[in-house]
Symmetry: C2
Subunit: 224 residues, 2 copies
């Protein structure tokens, strides 16, 4: 992301490393780790680890349990539903605002670019690329909403469901209809039809949510 190699503080390093370790599964969801343990793992003292933990807790990636170390937050299907509900509403809002307000040409172009990437990935049956392009679309849409706080919230929750999406990506059929939905939303935005843009996008998100939670439940993935 930010290509600023200027001597990162240990707190930041700890934060980034722990974050990566959570995403990669090096730290198991549901288990707890001692501060000292993590500190040794990262080669620093407990202080920056504690601070990193506090920040990651705010992002919902782990919980600091007084006198019991940190517990990596597991994401159960019910959590996914909560998160998807929120993303649905906030992205829907962004779609409406994008259609309403004066959207700059390049911002809408970013949407269409992402859709093209999805088309290509779909043609190549490259699931990873499709997922990346899907994220690209959603993040471009969120940016169009011009609400910094919404951007932060969505980024946070997208982080939390990343693991789950990575798993389900291989369990579902190729998401061919998804692109139609995206295209329709994009068109509504171009037409400045806020109501349609919002409604379509919400419906799209809702379908994704049902698909995902059904998959998780069917495959007995209680938490990831």
């Amino acid at each position: 992301m930010s290509a600023a190699p200027k001597s990162k503080s240990n707190t930041v390093k700890a934060q980034d490393t722990l974050r990566e370790m959570i995403f990669s599964g090096d730290l198991l969801p549901g288990s707890t780790y001692l501060e000292a343990e993590l500190a040794e793992l990262l080669g620093m003292s407990r202080t920056p680890v504690r601070e990193a933990a506090l920040r990651l807790e705010a992002q919902g990636l782990l919980e600091v349990r007084p006198r019991h170390g940190v517990r990596i937050t597991p994401v159960a299907p019910s959590d996914m539903e909560e998160i998807y509900e929120i993303l649905t509403e906030l992205e829907g809002l962004c779609a409406e605002k994008a259609a309403d307000a004066g959207h700059s040409e390049e911002e809408v172009a970013a949407l269409e670019e992402a859709i093209r990437h999805m088309d290509e990935a779909l043609a190549a049956e490259d699931r990873e690329a499709w997922a990346a392009a899907d994220e690209e679309f959603h993040s471009a849409l969120i940016r169009l909403g011009h609400n910094r706080r919404v951007e932060v919230i969505c980024a946070m929750y997208n982080d939390q469901v990343r693991r789950a999406r990575a798993v389900t990506l291989w369990l579902r059929p190729l998401p061919t209809e998804s692109n139609e939905a995206h295209r329709a939303v994009c068109k509504a935005i171009r037409n400045c039809d806020a109501e349609t843009a919002g409604r379509l996008h919400r419906a799209h998100r809702r379908e994704a949510r049902v698909l995902l939670t059904e998959l998780l439940k069917r495959h007995g993935l209680r938490n990831v």
Copy 2:
């Protein structure tokens, strides 16, 4: 809130105290304070103050600026608009879900109770009581949404706009129409009419937002 007087840790005490000091205006929005300064103020060392600051930063009440102490986050009208947009969507979602899902009788009763309190406050022209009842209504509605994360987000943002609302409470006319809107939302929920409940509540919130930001701008309150 939680009546657990079991020897609070200094971190928690610092967090609560700073929070109160921000709400009460003892710490001025926009100004910065040194960690050592706050530590002395609270009669403890820098460590728990730092931790408290990190937690409060996550709640958006202040920003920790490396090497520059903490800055109490001011809330400008543009911030209010962002926040109100989010509250509008999420509360709208709650209204829909409340109407949709099986809402327990007592939960809806809490809504009606709050409305009655507002009526009484309005009759007595007691603005403070009305504001309290208004908060009561919104928080009851959010609880009806049965989404823990939404509850957390809304609580956080309501905190952030509390100061602004406290100011504008005395600048606006008595909110007589507001109650009609609340009553209508409540009725739609009783009727299990999700679409209407959501639409009405969103419209109500949107009006409140416009009213508030107009007031702030008209009175030249750049930030509170």
